[in-house]
């Protein structure tokens, strides 16, 4: 498992998720992509996942959840649109996982 998953816990902090929505959205996508099979690329497929993730975040008010949800879903939407251009609307989970990982690394390089 790539070491980038070590960052996932950092994204559980409200301020981190709000300040780095693209990074956190990509981490979330990368972590939850299936290991095998085919994935249909749709933004809505990640909505429940983001909601559940926010639900697990400690100390969030309803307003916090609304704002972070909006930011994360916007970032997910942008990432999905980019991935659709790169790999198409339907892709093997492995191909997609690698494409997400590439984007994630780009994002991390900007922050490093």
């Amino acid at each position: 498992m790539p070491h980038v998953d070590a960052l996932f816990e950092a994204c559980r902090k409200r301020e981190a998720a709000a300040a780095h929505p693209r990074l956190c959205a990509l981490l979330l996508m990368h972590r939850h992509l299936p290991k095998v099979g085919v994935v249909y690329l749709r933004t809505t497929a990640y909505r429940t996942l983001v909601q559940k993730w926010l639900g697990d975040m400690p100390g969030l008010t309803g307003e916090d959840k609304r704002v972070i949800m909006q930011k994360l879903m916007k970032a997910v939407g942008e990432a999905v649109a980019e991935l659709k251009r790169e790999v198409g609307g339907v892709a093997a989970a492995e191909t997609l996982r690698r494409a997400v990982l590439r984007k994630l690394l780009e994002e991390l390089r900007k922050l490093a």
């Binding site: 790539p2 070491h3 980038v4 070590a6 960052l7 950092a10 994204c11 902090k13 409200r14 301020e15 981190a16 300040a19 780095h20 990074l23 290991k35 095998v36 099979g37 085919v38 198409g88 339907v90 892709a91 093997a92 989970a93 492995e94 191909t95 996982r97 690698r98 990982l101 590439r102 690394l105 991390l108 390089r109 922050l111 490093a112």
Partner: protein, 215 residues
Amino acid sequence: MTPVEPARLKDLERFLSGWERREAPPPPGVYAARAGYHGRLVEEYCARYHLIYLVAVYDRDGACRDLYQCCFSQPQSDAPGRCFVFGDVEWREELAEKCRVETYLYRFRDIADALRTLLEFGMHVKGIPCTEFNIDVLRATGWCDVDPICCDVSAVREKILEEASAPRRQPQAQHPLPGAGDPPEEPHDCAELMRRAAEALGIDAIRLRRCLCRT
């Protein structure tokens, strides 16, 4: 839709010029990157394309006559293996019935060169992210220094956590609650700041102070 992306033919040809080609499965060796494809997807891929393996043969003293056969011999004392392999999927016997396979071999006198070549092929020709490579390969090739993110994300993690805790403190420091007890030197600081600002701007210091300091 192609389940796995093949390398572009032009890139492949350019990269592999000078390599010894065999229509045979890869010999035993140490895989440079993790294998990640599901069996069914490999079969789908095989229906369209050849499986391609690159084998970097570490032959320090040039004693290997047959590079392919050399991979079956004992590794040299200063290396974990004789041959280092890069391919989309770790080779297994049942693939021989379903897939056409090509293996490319090249002799290397230096182990770091051998691994760097596989790394470059994987990243630049196949477009595989660096984190897919074994950490030992990344370290041995010096790639961790070139792109530290490939090997360690702790610096970014700390930065994010630090940023996450900073904004909670800042608003309190910048906007103290009324009557919460200003530091005793602040009125003086404010007046001094206003005097300097007024001088620089060429305006009335008292009016500026009334506007901004509300004193």
